[in-house]
């Protein structure tokens, strides 16, 4: 019985130690909102955004929102968990108040409603908020397809407690060139790229890793030199058209995307959109230095977006199925609609045609929009799902 543990007798410097072991901004904010002693024991997280060569790096965060159990609002909710995965961009308005913009989970398209009763304000103290991923990328004024744009920017160490002086950054630009930056550098620097172009970049266990089109993963060491880390995913140049790096359950995965030769979208961008036909998933077996093909992800769903790749366990989320890959088409104009690849039968559907998979994305659960306004995908300014 918890009441018998005299936690409040723990000396304040130990609460400070505990608080400093929290590694996401939202956890630190919740910790500092518990009581005044805890609030003073841990400093607030600084909100400065990354700037390289005078340009601000775009940043948004993916969160999982859940209602805490046994809340009074719970009586109307189904007994199984309900979660909502969202991505928001945080900014301060002119009066210093925090403002957020809701975006499509897998692209940078904003979610704009045609009208309705989405709450103006949500207080994060009322919800279980888990930070899933912090996306960084560089679009700049000329747009996402300009060579100066970086579709992924990874910053390490990515901890709220890290000093700015310790920061290193790697970005993947244009068609797969890598550039790096260290605190104090004036601008990006090109990196030696023996196997350029690279398909993807990730932070894994506090280090930078990249993957090339053969599925060979390389580690980028602190001096920004590449060190081969794995064999290629497929021998003999077989395999798919695009490799993605994602972490799940502490392991490193490569997802190999197979694309159709010709786009059937009817968009007038010759050869640019490469429509996905299927995916294969491989997990790196680090003990044996080889790739194991994974045919069943269990309760896990992988998300491959324009600027991030992450995994979420949907275990216990009512009506939500794992063992799938949410993705957007590569190079789709203005960011693509969310689609879902079902690992069980290899089918690909738009998320809005697959209720079991749409549920965690849209519409927001009833405990967010209690007035029950129908925020169905058709009420959005542009179809995102």
């Amino acid at each position: 019985m918890e009441r018998s543990v005299p936690w409040s007798e723990l000396p304040m410097e130990l609460w400070s130690m505990i608080g400093k072991k929290l590694d996401t901004r939202v956890d630190i904010d919740q910790f500092r909102s518990v009581c005044s002693p805890w609030r003073s024991s841990v400093p607030p997280v600084s909100e400065s955004k990354l700037r390289i060569g005078g340009t601000l790096i775009n940043q948004c965060t993916v969160y999982l929102l859940e209602l805490p159990p046994t809340s009074p609002k719970d009586s109307q909710c189904p007994p199984s968990r309900e979660g909502w995965l969202i991505k928001i961009t945080e900014d301060k308005d002119l009066s210093g108040r925090g403002r957020v913009q809701l975006s499509n989970l897998l692209s940078s398209r904003p979610i704009l409603f045609k009208g309705g009763t989405f709450p103006e304000v949500l207080c994060t103290m009322d919800y279980r908020v888990t930070e899933i991923f912090v996306e960084r990328y560089l679009i700049g004024e000329k747009g996402a397809c300009y060579p100066g744009a970086a579709r992924k920017v990874i910053m390490l160490p990515d901890s709220p407690w890290a000093a700015l002086e310790e920061t290193s950054v790697v970005g993947i630009f244009g068609r797969g060139r890598l550039k790096c930056w260290k605190h104090g550098d004036e601008d990006w620097n090109a990196m030696d790229n023996p196997n350029s172009p690279y398909d993807d970049l990730i932070a894994y266990k506090g280090q930078f890793y990249v993957v090339d089109r053969f599925g060979t993963v390389s580690w980028i060491n602190p001096s920004f030199k590449m060190v081969q880390f794995s064999p290629p995913v497929c021998g003999n140049g077989n395999g798919g058209d695009w490799k993605h790096l994602v972490e799940s359950g502490g392991d490193l995965y490569v997802v190999d995307r197979y694309c159709n030769e010709f786009s059937t979208f009817g968009r007038i961008r010759a050869g640019a959109v490469r429509e996905a036909a299927g995916f294969k998933v491989y997990r790196l077996n680090q003990e044996w230095g080889k790739w194991d093909e994974i045919r069943n992800l269990g309760d896990v769903a992988l998300f491959l977006g324009d600027h991030s790749c992450f995994s979420v366990s949907v275990k216990g989320f009512g009506g939500c199925k794992g063992n799938c890959i949410y993705f957007t088409e590569i190079n789709a104009t203005r960011g693509g609609k969310v689609q879902v690849f079902n690992m069980e039968d290899g089918s690909i559907k738009r998320a809005s045609y697959s209720p079991d998979h749409l549920r965690i994305l849209w519409p927001p659960p009833a405990w967010i929009t209690p007035n029950g306004f129908d925020l169905s995908p058709s009420s959005l300014e542009e179809p995102l799902f």
Binding site: E2, V5, D27, D29, V34, V100, E120, L122, M125
Partner: protein, 160 residues
């Protein structure tokens, strides 16, 4: 293997020190394992550790576990992966025990155990609302209504 720095003969038996818990139980621990505790280390340096060291703040039940922890961490040749797994198992305990580990590690100044136990508590806090945290730790919000309002304003997502 001789572990004491003051021993000159290679065939000396391992140096042990004796610890006495608050409820009178005694425990033997190898000196080299005891060095994990800064408190015990300074006592050993000053030669105060020849008679049973009284630890009036630590019960026998907890002291036994602390000795087990220090002994395990003093082993040579343990690989990092299996030590991590052992540590995870060690802190899979109920809250009263975890609390006692923290106090004992703090008192005895065992940084590795203190870090391990504090990380466990941090993991209990992750992803929870402040209200849930109040209930888990039986802690009251000590904010005034004005402060509470300010807090809610700070922790707000205002949608464009």
């Amino acid at each position: 293997m001789s572990s004491s720095s003051s021993s000159s003969s290679p065939s000396c038996p391992k140096k042990m020190i004796t610890l006495k818990s608050s409820d009178g139980e005694t425990f033997e621990i190898e000196e080299i394992a005891a060095l994990q505790s800064k408190t015990l280390e300074s006592m050993i340096d000053e030669n105060c550790a020849s008679t049973p060291v009284p630890l009036p703040n630590i019960t026998g039940k907890i002291l036994a576990k602390v000795v087990e922890y220090c002994t395990k961490h003093a082993e040579v040749g343990a690989d990092a992966e299996s030590l991590r797994a052992w540590d995870a198992e060690f802190v899979s305990v109920d809250h009263p025990t975890l609390f006692d580990y923290i106090l004992a590690a703090n008192f005895l100044e065992i940084p590795t155990l203190l870090n391990l136990a504090c990380q466990s508590v941090a993991d209990m806090v992750k992803g929870k609302t402040p209200d849930e945290i109040h209930k888990i730790f039986n802690i009251k919000s000590t904010f005034t209504p004005e402060e509470e309002e300010e807090l809610r304003r700070e922790n707000q997502w205002a949608f464009d």
